[in-house]
Symmetry: C2
Subunit: 227 residues, 2 copies
């Protein structure tokens, strides 16, 4: 959840709890835990070197983000997503991302458009370079610019929440041959519509991109998800 406004100075003090949450988040994104795997508080406390009180607060945060599941008296476990759920997420993401693109088409300023262009260029370089980390960073910048331009913190917030929940699906689908290149092409079309100030076109392009991502994710993860 990088800041999407470069002018954004408000740096939230890093409490151990936020640090811990960040670490766990990374661990989950990077697949260090299996989906559905049970987490043991005492264990995590040792590994993160924090007290149980702090840990439990961090866990509540992750639970709110749906990255983990927190069942009373049974403790936390890494969220396991079903394909049905993933599909619902892609659907809503298409809806919201389409809306975001539509709004951004008329609101993005020169600076915002430039940020998107440069992020996309970076993405394409990363594709050529076969650099997953670089792709992820570029994508993040691209979307931060888009969401910044859509001028709705609510949309941005919901989208970031949804995307976080399917991060590992994205990573997986990107590994498929050609998908990264296709993705770049879709994003380029979207950017073209934005530059043309074509709101309906931008919406359509954004929706199309999500649709394609959904199909790719399905193909890449058949049988990998919980029923």
């Amino acid at each position: 959840m990088a800041s999407m406004d470069p002018m954004d100075i408000k740096v939230v003090p890093k409490t151990v709890l936020h640090l811990a949450a960040e670490n766990l988040r990374q661990a989950i994104f990077s697949g260090a835990f299996q989906p559905g795997e049970r987490l043991v508080e005492a264990d995590l406390c040792r590994r993160l070197d924090i007290s149980r009180a702090s840990l439990r607060e961090a866990l509540r945060m992750l639970a709110a983000e749906k990255l983990i599941t927190l069942v009373p008296n049974r403790g936390p476990s890494v969220a396991a997503i079903s394909w049905a759920e993933a599909e619902q997420i892609y659907d809503v993401r298409a809806l919201l991302e389409g809306e975001a693109a539509c709004r951004a088409a008329t609101r993005l300023d020169t600076q915002g458009l430039h940020a998107m262009r440069s992020a996309l260029a970076e993405f394409e370089r990363a594709v050529v370079r076969r650099d997953p980390a670089g792709r992820l960073a570029a994508t993040t910048r691209f979307y931060d610019a888009l969401l910044g331009g859509c001028d709705s913190a609510v949309i941005a917030e919901l989208l970031q929440g949804l995307v976080a929940r399917i991060t590992f699906l994205r990573a997986r689908s990107m590994q498929r041959a050609g998908r990264a290149r296709e993705s770049a092409a879709e994003l380029r079309r979207l950017l073209a519509r934005l530059e043309a100030r074509d709101a309906p076109g931008a919406r359509a392009a954004a929706i199309e991109h999500v649709r394609c991502a959904c199909v790719a994710a399905r193909a890449a993860s058949t049988g990998v998800l919980a029923a």
Copy 2:
């Protein structure tokens, strides 16, 4: 957040922390705290008669729901919503509720439709009776049925989150003369489209309802919100 599936047996064990969260939620909804009012942990602990550890976990939950704001080293305060933010919420709500209605139009079964009819009838009775609590209960039932019928837990979850954040606006706008009656009429139109299995019409009706609610809220709260 009432269960929307009558068959739903899974009753989550009530830990003190959940109880406390529920109490605080109610207190905020009912306006027992002023928006922006600072909350003091030690205070709340005494009032709720729980330990600080449990309280802080409960606070994390409410913060995730955006009912309170949690700034490190400054503690919790009741969320103060700006009109700009409220408007964004109404916008997204329209989008999602429209989608939900659209989906529900083709998916709602007889039982679901019946539930909506009966909830609406109850709502209308509550309107005549000038019974705010009754209206709220009926509205909840109406929406639970709608969301159940839209067959997307993700949409339902996001909508409930958004609606919670503008609860006090809804309450306020409903107090305006005639608004409750108008609202009933809008819901009736929506239900008619659903019964006719008219997906686009249902979407339009749902969006129209939210639009009207937004206008009413704006009228009812001019000058009442933070800039």
